[in-house]
Structure formats: structure tokens, C-alpha cells
Amino acid sequence: MKQGKQLQKGSYVARYWQLYAMMVLPLLYFLVFKYVPMLGSVLAFRRYRPGMGPFGTEWVGLTYFSRFWSDPAFWRAFRNTLVLSLLNLVVNFPIPILFAILLNEVHILPFKKVVQTVSYMPRFISTVVVIAILGELLSPSSGIINILRQQVFSKEALYFMNEARFFRVIYILVDTWQYTGWTAIIYLAAITAIPAELYEAATIDGASRTQQIFYVTIPSIMPTIMVMLIISVGRLLSLGFEKVLLLYTPDNSMVSDIIDTLVYRTGLANQNYSYATAIGLFSGIIGVILVSSSNALSKKLTGEGIY
């Protein structure tokens, strides 16, 4: 039990000792399970030789960093990652919010519950199967979409899954389908916390339903939205690896190769953990920069941030 320094009446720690006590166990957990393994990042600066210890055998300084720094394939992957991530953010960030708001406006309770449950089911279909089903739908020879194109619109069949220009669209739309319902849960929870009095007041003031959304709902869940936004921005460099890998073909590789798939391919060829760790460190640093800047921005604009 943390009794604090001295049990002086009004001493800071003495007053709040319970709060600190609550933090002890989780903090310990964090230090042990999240920070101790970070020591392994030193591998980015050492040469790793399989079977000769997990921390490498000798210091090589920035060799691995300069390796990817000067590799055009890396920068292409970096650019692809950013572009895909930003597009994904722009499209798939607002959609779950909208969905949650609209769902909240459904007043037929049984219907609402059904939609709520069904909407998050896509998240559970393994990505491998999703892409397989998509492949069938978009197949140039037997897929429904192309059959429609040919017979109804008299257009040529397109091999969607293989063309570079469709890759991003497909990726983003699959993401929408998979995660909208899932992510909306958070916003739904936030919306239910809005006091009914606010809506009543707005109704009395003569606000229409759309106006109520803009003036009550959205401002009330703004803290949640900002938190989600900051986190999403911070994760800009981490994309759905498995999904990209499944959609990757040599023909669309110029846009579909992302950092993670590049590391996977390079790593797979020669189990170069040092190289992978170096890239990981680099991505991590960028992530921290992104989070801090978006947090600072959010604080300036809305007064709230995550720290």
C-alpha cells in the first residue's frame, strides 16, 4: 500500500494515493511486457546472425538504415503506404460515424438491433475468403459484374483484380465493407451517453432531426471522434498486411507494394531481421511524430487530445 511520504493532511500523494495504487499493477505490466522487449530494437544497429543470439553479434551502425534509405523500392512502398492510408482515412473514417448516427435514428427497436448485429458480421469473415469471393464476383469470365457490363452495358470485360488502377479502390471498398459496422460500435456507445435532455431542449427550440444531428449529436461525440482520428493518423503507416498481400499481383505491384509487404518479401528471402527491425524503427518514429502533431493540432482546435 502506497502510504505516501508522510501522512500529512492535504499532502498530494496522501490525498491521491489510491489513484496511484490503482496504476501500479498495470504500469508494471506495461514496463515488463511492452518496454522490456523494446530492447530488442537494438538489433537495427547490429548484425543479426541466425543462431548466434537474439541481439546480433556486432555493431554495424546505420548500415541497414542506409540500405533502405537508398533503395527506390522502399520509397515507392513508402509512398504507396501513405497514399493508400490517406485515401482510406478520408473515405473510411467518416463512414462509420455516419452509420452510427443514422443507426441511432432508427426507432423501430427490433430492426435496429438486427441491423446493428448484422453490420458487424463482415469483420469475422477471414480476409482470405473475402478476397476469394471478391475474385469470383469480379472475374472477367464468370463474375456477375463483368457479365452485367457485357450484356447490359455492352462494354468489355475488365480484369479488375489485376489492374493497377483498381487496386486502391478495391482495397478501400473491402475495408469499408469489413469494418464499418465494427468501428461504428464505438460511436454508438458514445451516442448513447448523450443526455436525453439535450435532445429535448433542441426539439423545444424547434430543431429538425438533421439539425439535431449537427448541433447535438456530433458535438457531443466530438471527443471520441478526435481520439479515433488521432489514433488513425498515428497508424497511417500500418495497413492491412494480409489484405494487401492477397490483392498483390505483379501487374499492380507498382501501387500495391506497401512497406509491410516489402519487408515480408525481403525478409522472406534472407531472414534479415536486422533490416526489418531498422524499417520498423523508422516507421515507429514517423508514427510518433504523426501522433504528437495530430494531438497538438486537436488540442488547438478542440481543446482535447489524448495526452
Partner: protein
């Protein structure tokens, strides 16, 4: 007197000590216990009570703890165990010393089993029997030692290849193709009669097509290219590597493939993997009539087709500019590895002898292949005849033996005798294999792996990936016609040279 007594006493004590020590060396009669990593294929899930598993443990007096690991993650788990040296089992199955394992072995994480030849008499006997001394010797790494006990094949078999609709050949009065030119003509006829079809389709992905057909042009490239280098090929005549990806042979190959593609004879969907179900669909409904695939899969397609007279047949390799060749195969395969901590066991010798007997002895080789005489088969007039239940099963002898009894699994069967294997297939398969063998040199050996230490391996790796990526892109572009072979070939060669393909070739050749 006293002195002699003392000496006698000392001798007695010494004698009894040595006898005691010898007695300790003599292992107890209880079963030897050890743990094993097993790679589990979902199509034949491991069963602890498989006849083969229980029987073999009885025969060698061992108690084996099997760690069942899904095949798709097997490499991850093995790599983790060997890299960290913790939680490794005593024996790891289904491994070779390619890639990371080579570095791990050279750095001391794996037992150099060739040092313990005296303890693997059964393995040695099989090697001699099959005449594989050279093949096995070539598995030695840079330090001159071999680090695993490979699976042994006396003759590689032709388990997959060109598959055509035999009924259509008859219908359109075509003879079985012998060269790739013949194939082109056959496909054209198919297309004529079925304009909306794409006659030649592929299973899984273009890599299956490539690895089965490229050797007839003298090259082997791509994801599963024989050398593992993706862009280099082996010159069998001169016994060295050459830059296959930029060779004239490849140019000729891709020109042929492009022709097929441009005329609508090749399935345009081949860039995306075509999984088993869709492939079956295409063939069974007649949307495709030809493919490169595995014999095992024919039954499934035929059984489910509703087309009258539907018959699929497998054909020997077709002849291209460099002769008729199929995907190269090795006479040695993935086998048994011992993590270094196993060598520290007091009963290490007994363990090695037990493992050796378990997988390589004559009787146990038969066990893993055919099962138990009396239970799964009987010998009549010197021929193996399987019991009715197996013979009449709907999935075929081979599959039923695999799933029910654990026979014929890549992971546990180490000794493969072609003639014995043929008894598990129908006569058709045996006939085809015989035909292929008669053609001579259809299935060439796999090119030798260069002996790298881990620094060179790293260097090779950094060259390999960009070259492979570029090759894939250009290959796909040439195939579909988005890049022209006549006009853009030189640009392609230039790019590959810029990426260091010549240096890569040298690196390989210098370390053979």
C-alpha cells in the same frame, strides 16, 4: 602380501566401477521418450492413433510426443525455436538446410548429423541402395558437414503435368500432343469449337504452369524456379548457372506464351491465384479443357462433372526447343533435423539410432508407405493387394491410406520407392509414369545449392528480391502484351543488368 592384496582390491574396485559404468551406459529397457515437431496439412490431419504412428512406436520401443503445427505456420515456429534455442523439440521433421537453416546450422544451432554416420546404419543402407551417395553428399554445407537426414526417392515420379480432355481429343479427331507446337494446334481447335472458352487454365497460379513447362526451353524461373534464385537457371550441359531471366531461351518461351494469351487460348485470370474449387469448376463445366496440374486432382473433377463422356487424362511432358522436360525434382527431400540441445542428452546415441530405425529401416519404410501387412494390405503372388475397404473407397487408395492410416505423408515417409508407390494408384498412372521414364531425362535433377555462409546469403538476398520483383513485372507485361517483346526486350535486359543480375550469377557460380 599386504601389497598384493591392496592391488587386488584396487583392481576389483576398478573393475566393478567400469562394469557399473558400462551398465549405466546400457540404456534401460523402457521406451525412449522424445518430442517431435510435425507439420500438419489440413487435408490429412494428424491423428495420434494412426496405425502407422502407434505401430512404429511399438516397433522401436519409443514414446513420441508429437507437436502438431499447422503447415502454413510451420516455418515460423521452427525458425523461432532454432533462432532462440528455447523450447525446441528433440527432433524436427520436414526440414532441409535451405535458406535460414543453412545459416543456423553453420552457426551451431543444429546437430551436424553427418558426424554421426555410425549411428544411422539404416539411412546409410537406403542411400546406398538407391545410389544416392552423390546427391546426399551435395547436401553438405560450406563446412563440409550435412545437417539433416533427407527423405530419399529412388526415382522421381511424374505426379503432375499436362492434363487434357481425352474425350474432346477423340471427338475432334486430334492425336495426343507431343510437342508444344502440337499443343498450340490442339488448343486452337478447342477454341474454335468453343469460342467463349479459354482452353488452357491453371491451377493455383502461373507458377505451376511455369515450373512444369519452362524446362522444355532449358530454363526454370519464377517463384518456384528449380534453383530457388528466381531469376537464374542451370545449364545442365556446362554445369553452371546462367542468367535465365534475360536469356534467349526465356525470350523464346515468353513469345510462345504470349501467342497463346493473345489468341485467347490461355486463361486471362491467371495473374490471380485460381483456387482448387474454381479450377475444378472451369474444367468440370467445360469452360476450360486443358491445364497443368496434379494427377491427384483429376478424380475430383471427373466425379463432379455432368458432361457426357467427360474424361481427363494426363500426358507426358511435351517437347520444346530444348527437349521434353518436366519440372526438375530432387531425389532427396525434406527430412529430419536435430536441434543442438538434443545432442546434450545422455541417450543421444540411442535417440539417433531409434529415429534412424523409425524412418529408414526396410520394414518401417514399408510401414509408412503401405501400412501393416494383414491390416491394410496382403501380399498375393508377390504383389501388394490392398484390403477391400481401402480399394473400394471413394477417395481412392492413396488418399484413403493417407487420411485413415497416416501412410504416404510427406512429413513422416522418408523412403519413396517408385514401384511401391505405384501400387497405390490406378494402372493409368503407372502407365503414364512408365511412358515418361522411357522418354529419358524428362525429370532432371535440381541444380546444386551454392554454399553460402550467412554473410554471403545476405548479400545474395539483397540482390535477389529486386531482381525477382522486376522479373515478375516484366514477365506479366510480356505475357499480356502490355509490353512488346520485340520492342521492349532490350530495355528489360538493361534494367535487369542494372539491378545486378550478372553479379548475382557470379555469386552463385563462385560458391558451388
Amino acid at each position: 602380501m599386504k601389497k598384493t592384496l591392496l592391488v587386488a582390491l584396487l583392481v576389483l574396485v576398478f573393475l566393478s566401477f567400469s562394469l557399473f559404468a558400462a551398465g549405466v551406459k546400457e540404456t534401460s529397457s523402457g521406451p525412449i521418450a522424445f518430442s517431435v515437431f510435425y507439420s500438419d496439412n489440413a487435408t490429412l490431419p494428424f491423428k495420434g492413433d494412426w496405425l502407422t504412428v502407434t505401430e512404429v512406436q511399438k516397433r522401436v520401443n519409443a514414446k513420441v510426443e508429437f507437436e502438431i503445427i499447422p503447415i502454413v505456420d510451420y516455418q515460423t515456429k521452427v525458425s523461432l525455436a532454432l533462432n532462440t534455442g528455447t523450447n525446441a523439440p528433440d527432433v524436427i521433421l520436414y526440414q532441409s538446410t535451405k535458406g535460414e537453416n543453412a545459416a543456423l546450422s553453420l552457426n551451431g544451432a543444429v546437430v551436424p548429423i553427418s558426424d554421426y554416420e555410425a549411428w544411422t546404419p539404416n539411412f546409410n543402407a537406403r542411400v546406398k541402395e538407391f545410389g544416392l551417395e552423390d546427391d546426399v553428399a551435395s547436401l553438405k554445407l560450406k563446412d563440409g558437414k550435412r545437417y539433416f537426414l533427407p527423405a530419399l526417392f529412388d526415382v522421381p515420379f511424374y505426379d503432375g503435368g499436362l492434363i487434357l480432355r481425352e474425350d474432346l481429343l477423340k471427338k475432334y479427331n486430334l492425336s495426343a500432343p507431343k510437342t508444344f507446337e502440337d499443343l498450340y494446334q490442339v488448343l486452337k481447335v478447342f477454341k474454335q469449337h468453343n469460342p467463349t472458352s479459354y482452353p488452357l487454365t491453371i491451377l493455383a497460379g502461373p507458377r505451376v504452369l511455369y515450373r512444369m513447362t519452362m524446362p522444355s526451353w532449358g530454363i526454370s524461373l519464377g517463384k518456384n524456379g528449380a534453383s530457388g534464385s528466381n531469376t537464374l537457371s542451370w545449364d545442365y550441359a556446362n554445369k553452371r548457372y546462367f542468367a535465365g531471366a534475360i536469356s534467349e531461351q526465356y525470350k523464346s518461351y515468353i513469345t510462345y506464351m504470349h501467342k497463346l494469351y493473345a489468341e485467347g487460348l490461355l486463361d486471362p485470370e491467371m495473374a490471380e491465384p485460381i483456387d482448387g474449387d474454381r479450377w475444378t469448376q472451369k474444367l468440370a463445366t467445360g469452360k476450360a479443357m486443358a491445364s497443368y496440374a496434379y494427377y491427384d486432382q483429376l478424380g475430383g473433377v471427373t466425379a463432379n462433372s455432368t458432361i457426357d463422356g467427360f474424361k481427363l487424362q494426363m500426358y507426358p511432358a511435351l517437347a520444346g526447343p530444348e527437349g521434353a522436360h518436366h519440372q526438375p525434382k530432387s531425389k532427396t527431400g525434406s527430412g529430419i533435423l536435430f536441434p543442438i540441445k538434443t545432442a546434450k542428452r545422455a541417450d543421444f546415441e540411442q535417440l539417433v539410432r531409434t529415429v534412424d530405425e523409425m524412418f529408414f529401416s526396410e520394414e518401417n519404410a514399408k510401414l509408412w508407405c503401405l501400412g501393416v501387412e494383414g491390416t491394410t494390405y496382403t501380399t498375393q503372388n508377390g504383389k501388394v493387394v490392398f484390403v477391400d475397404e481401402i480399394r473400394n473407397s471413394s477417395e481412392g487408395i492413396y488418399k484413403s491410406l493417407q487420411v485413415k492410416y497416416g501412410c504416404g505423408s510427406d512429413v513422416t515417409q522418408m523412403v519413396w520407392v517408385n514401384a511401391r508407390e505405384m501400387t497405390k494408384y490406378d494402372e493409368n498412372y503407372a502407365r503414364i509414369n512408365a511412358e515418361v521414364e522411357a522418354m529419358g531425362d524428362v525429370i532432371q535433377a535440381i541444380p546444386p545449392t551454392p554454399k553460402f555462409d550467412d554473410r554471403m546469403a545476405e548479400e545474395a538476398g539483397t540482390l535477389q528480391t529486386p531482381l525477382f520483383d522486376a522479373f515478375e513485372r516484366w514477365n506479366s507485361a510480356f505475357l499480356t502484351g502490355s509490353k512488346s517483346i520485340e520492342k521492349d526486350w532490350d530495355a528489360y535486359v538493361k534494367e535487369m543488368k542494372n539491378l545486378g543480375i550478372e553479379k548475382f550469377t557470379e555469386l552463385y557460380n563462385a560458391n558451388l
